[in-house]
């Protein structure tokens, strides 16, 4: 389960250093069951939906990528995308979802 009390686990993979103008690939993974809301318990009760609904990445405060997720995303949602390494700085990643789920991660990149 991913109750609000549980610490969110996220993994982000991106190069620490890049040349200016280089396209870098960013892979992100968040630990989450992504309960669809379509499954039932053995007693026939519907298990309520509990998913991550939004993901966003900002590069030095400017949003460069955003996604809306739906129940058909597999558990532990993996999202891979790319961005242009324009300047050294911080990339911030935010996930949010049902039942108050929220997770953040930040990573540094140096552009040479």
């Amino acid at each position: 389960m991913n109750g609000p009390g549980r610490k969110a686990r996220v993994v982000v993979h991106l190069p620490q250093q890049a040349r200016r103008g280089e396209i870098i690939e960013i892979r992100t993974l968040a630990g989450h069951d992504m309960e669809t809301g379509f499954r039932r318990t053995q007693f026939g009760e519907l298990i309520p939906r509990d998913i991550i609904t939004r993901f966003a990445c900002s590069y030095n405060g400017v949003e460069v990528f955003r996604a809306e997720l739906h129940p058909a995303i597999a558990a532990n949602p993996l999202i891979t995308f790319s961005t242009v390494a324009s300047e050294s700085g911080t990339l911030e990643f935010r996930w949010s979802g049902d039942n108050g789920y929220a997770a953040t991660h930040s990573a540094q990149i140096s552009v040479v």
């Binding site: 669809t36 053995q42 460069v64 997720l69 739906h70 058909a72 995303i73 597999a74 891979t80 995308f81």
Partner: protein, 117 residues
Amino acid sequence: MRKVVGNAPVRSGKVKLELPPLIDNGNTVPLSVAVDSPMTTADHVSAIHVFVEKNPQPYVISAHLGPRAGRARIATRVRIADTGTVIAIAQTSDGSFWSDSVSVVVTLSACLEDGLI
């Protein structure tokens, strides 16, 4: 799909949707969408949407990107309920829509056969 596209025509081409044609386990299927685009301020892909036709809720993901992405490619892992068609639609900065679809065969479905708790 109409909610995303509206009444605009969707043309095939430019988009390349990749996922395995035969799926043992529909609970986690790797999928990638790449769009042929220069990704400049004047001409770029603004959004990529993925739908799985046979799912109880077909909408899978909508990704919003821009010229700062550099390359119009996303990858994720999805659930697929049954043998059918997976569709990717890309929206470009001039407002046109492009799509690609892939037929897949699923032997173990997500949603229905993922066991009791």
